[in-house]
């Protein structure tokens, strides 16, 4: 699967434009090149992205997509030049053009040479690839002593997503300067990819991130997208898995690590291009040594060392900002990682206490633990030590540790290993329910008094399905999965052989999926894309 051309790509790229006329959003994916300039009524020149500001030249620059990568190209003839992330783009030599690659969150500005003294006709363009539904808005910080971002009704910027704490982050004005601090949230607050510890003095163009929500500091206001969670939820519920938005995307050219002797490099995987949609159950299959665990550890962000390419979850680059998203991702490794001399009940209780918000009462934690035990059919052994459990029960305890924490993306490495056929089916059914049912358990996050106030919000928040990616070996229940990803080993390197629904897989290989293993062992080159 080589790099796709523009027409095939839906990157979700858009340009948020901010000038004296207000905020506009330009969806970039509909064409490959966009001209940027000033609208001139006399010459009747109308650029694709037009401004009325006099400091913008008639032909100021272009936004172009080449092989899926967006670039900004500054016109050397424009009068005032352009800033990219606070740095003026250098003028190229005559006749040359210097494209600037754009990444999610990049800010382009047309303004005075000194950004500390901005022009009132200045123009700001925010490049974003986040596929969200909502309206862009600004929140003024002027004449505000301090303000909060969070789920609580008293917050000036109120968010509905469950990963927000009641009061998540605080911005305080002190003598004309603005200081950001995290209010001890579970998911953390990040500025330009760095976690906020203590207080952080905000500088213009700082990007404040809370998981996949971003707020851009513009000196005296915040620019952010007011997400319409209800619409996002409605889309999720009404669409079939294949039409849901992509949440996890991997474009891995290669992953290389040191070889066993430490003297050279060994390539583990190559050309892995995967898209995983929200609320789907995905099976990761492959022949022995095809790199299933390697791919899994790239997709969940646990091991991205030596990767060339990109892995994004909800538009956020996990290679750069994994910490920011780690609260949303749960990983269940193949090895049984738990305390041998704990009972499942104790193990889940500890996991719940350390993973869930502190505000949950003892009773709520107890209920959560009880339900996890019930879901995993561990009632009969809840008081037994983990080391005394059967292999299948140990696997379920391993899953339960992350299950109790209610993550958004759950990555399981061979949960079916060592399970008897009926337990396998049971575990797959649990996974399917988690992905397809609409997360009934999350109501617990709401405080009693909050419930009445945020009834509508709860409806939305409690209906998010989980995205579950799992390496499995037994394909007898493969039709329970929405998507199948198959890897094959070619010349000792793991390659992508197929990605699609189980029906499409049967069609692609021309045999049943369990027989496709033999085909991939025999002639992997035939199927590698």
């Amino acid at each position: 699967m080589e790099t796709q051309r523009f027409v095939m790509q839906n990157s979700g790229a858009s340009l948020v434009l901010l000038d004296n006329d207000g905020i506009r959003v330009c969806q970039l994916d509909i064409k490959a090149q966009w001209s940027i300039g000033r609208w001139d009524p006399i010459r009747a020149v109308t650029p694709d992205i037009s401004f009325t500001s006099p400091i913008v030249s008639r032909e100021h620059g272009w936004i172009s997509n080449v092989d899926g990568q967006w670039y900004y190209v500054d016109n050397p003839q424009n009068l005032n030049g352009t800033f990219h992330n606070g740095y003026k783009i250098p003028r190229p030599m005559a006749g040359q053009r210097r494209p600037v690659p754009l990444e999610n969150g990049d800010i382009l500005r047309i303004d005075n040479d000194d950004l500390d003294h901005v022009n009132r006709n200045g123009v700001l363009m925010l490049f974003t690839t986040a596929q969200v539904h909502g309206e862009w808005a600004t929140c003024s910080l002027q004449r505000v002593g301090s303000m909060y971002i969070g789920r609580d009704a008293s917050c000036r910027i109120r968010e509905e997503a469950l990963y927000f704490s009641a009061r998540h982050a605080k911005i305080k004005a002190v003598r004309g300067q603005y200081y950001l601090s995290d209010c001890g949230s579970m998911a953390g607050t990040y500025v330009n990819g760095q976690q906020v510890q203590g207080t952080h003095l905000l500088r213009e163009k700082d990007c404040i991130s809370i998981c996949d929500s971003n707020y851009f500091f513009l000196g005296d206001r915040l620019l952010y997208c007011q997400r319409d969670r209800e619409m996002e939820h409605q889309i999720l519920c009404e669409t079939t898995p294949s039409l849901r938005p992509v949440v996890l995307r991997a474009d891995i050219a290669t992953k290389r690590v040191k070889n066993n002797s430490g003297s050279g490099m060994k390539e583990l995987i190559r050309d892995i291009h995967i898209e995983i949609k929200e609320g789907t159950l995905v099976a990761l299959l492959g022949t022995a040594g095809a790199g299933k665990s390697t791919v899994m550890n790239c997709l969940n962000g646990m091991d991205l060392e030596g990767v060339q390419g990109a892995v994004t979850y909800r538009g956020v680059d996990l290679m750069k900002h994994f910490d920011q998203m780690s609260y949303l991702i749960g990983s269940v490794p193949q090895e049984k990682i738990f305390h041998e001399k704990f009972t499942p009940e104790e193990e889940f209780e500890l996991a719940a206490k350390t993973r869930l918000p502190a505000r949950l009462s003892r009773t709520e934690i107890r209920e959560r633990v009880d339900r996890t035990i019930e879901m995993l059919s561990l009632q009969g052994v809840r008081k037994n030590w983990n080391c005394k459990l059967s292999g299948g029960e140990k696997t379920r305890v391993n899953i339960g540790i992350e299950l109790v924490a209610d993550r958004e993306l759950l990555c399981l490495d061979e949960p079916d290993q060592g399970l008897s056929p009926n337990y396998k089916l049971e575990v797959f059914q649990i996974m399917q329910e988690l992905a397809h049912s609409r997360g009934k358990s999350v109501e617990e996050f709401m405080e009693e008094d909050e419930r009445m106030k945020v009834a509508a919000m709860r409806k939305v928040a409690s209906s998010q399905g989980k995205t579950i990616l799992s390496i499995i070996h037994d394909v007898s229940h493969i039709d329970m999965f929405d998507q199948v990803i198959m890897l094959a080993k070619v010349d000792g390197v793991g390659r992508l052989a197929f990605s699609g629904s189980p029906e499409e897989a049967r069609e692609y290989f021309g045999v049943d999926i369990k027989d496709a293993y033999a085909l991939l062992e025999r002639e992997p080159e035939r199927f590698v894309r």
Binding site: P333, K341, F342, K353, R355, R359
Partner: protein, 289 residues
């Protein structure tokens, strides 16, 4: 934040949870716990048996007894902790990466539990002094250099040596990635500690500087000072009383010297714990999950 519960559990709450977790692990690993508690009993018995007869009677026997105690304290401390963190490394990575663990809480909880264990083991080890009195009716030093009770000073010294060795073990356990490697490293550490203690060989030149980095040397200095080794007669002096006993300034019988050595031992406790805490953050880079 008045009126609003913050969402992430506080450092203190997490610390309590981790202490509870570690305590349950320690308590339930019964075989390991029994070995840990039997070790100082055996070490104390060996001290009484091998070097007890002339302990506090002549300088050489007292020095030998002190050396056995220091070695036992280092050995015990190191073996208490060297597997503690490394055996839970995968669990630490999973919890730390998913935001369910503060490394600081984890290391502090394990350091606290090891402190309790060392405090108990040091008390057992110090029973050897009473063993000497009981078995051979030797006179024990009564007055200490700092406190009125020399036994308290012996206890503090043995505890500090043992806990410093324990902290060193924790640091190694935080750094290495396999239990096997941790086990392989420990004998080397012990040998180096013994060689550079200044008891087996005279330390001169560069060896003197290396010996300054050894717990064994400072442990010996403290125990030697409390025992007032410089004032105890040499074995030869029993037959030839005119032979002079040259005082060794390492065993200076002053409160200042003992304070100084205790402070150094405290540094040997703090530095590895802080370093271990920093090193354990590297768990994130472990290749497999």
């Amino acid at each position: 934040m008045k009126g609003y519960a913050v969402n992430r559990i506080s450092f203190l709450r997490e610390l309590m949870l981790r202490i509870d977790e570690g305590w349950r692990v320690l308590r339930r690993e019964r075989r390991n716990l029994i070995i840990s508690l039997l070790f100082p009993v055996i070490a104390a018995a060996v001290t009484v048996w091998i070097a007890g007869e002339n302990m506090f009677v002549n300088c050489e026997s007292t020095k030998s007894a002190c050396f056995i105690l220091v070695c036992a304290a280092i050995w015990g401390g190191l073996f208490n902790s060297i597997q503690t963190v490394v055996k839970e490394r995968k669990m630490i990575k999973r919890d730390y990466v998913s935001g369910a663990m503060r490394i600081g809480c984890y290391t502090a909880s394990r350091a606290f539990l090891q402190l309790l264990l060392c405090a108990f083991q040091a008390a057992i080890l110090c029973m050897s002094f009473y063993g000497v009195k009981w078995a051979y009716e030797n006179e024990l030093p009564e007055m200490g250099l700092i406190f009125d009770d020399a036994m308290l000073e012996y206890y503090i010294t043995v505890f500090l040596v043992m806990y410093a060795a324990d902290a060193l073990g924790l640091m190694i356990s935080c750094f290495v990635r396999s239990e096997q490697l941790a086990s392989q490293l420990s004998p080397y550490i012990l040998i180096v500690q013994l060689l550079f203690s200044g008891v087996l060989f005279a330390m001169e030149g560069a060896a003197q500087s290396v010996s300054a980095l050894m717990l064994s040397r400072w442990g010996m200095e403290a125990l030697g000072s409390i025992s007032n080794l410089n004032e105890l007669p040499l074995r030869l002096q029993e037959e030839f009383p005119y032979i002079p006993h040259e005082a060794d300034e390492a065993f200076a019988y002053t409160a200042e010297h003992l304070w100084q050595v205790w402070l150094i031992l405290l540094v040997f406790v703090i530095v590895p714990l802080v370093a271990g805490n920093i090193l354990l953050h590297g768990v994130k880079k472990d290749s497999r999950g």
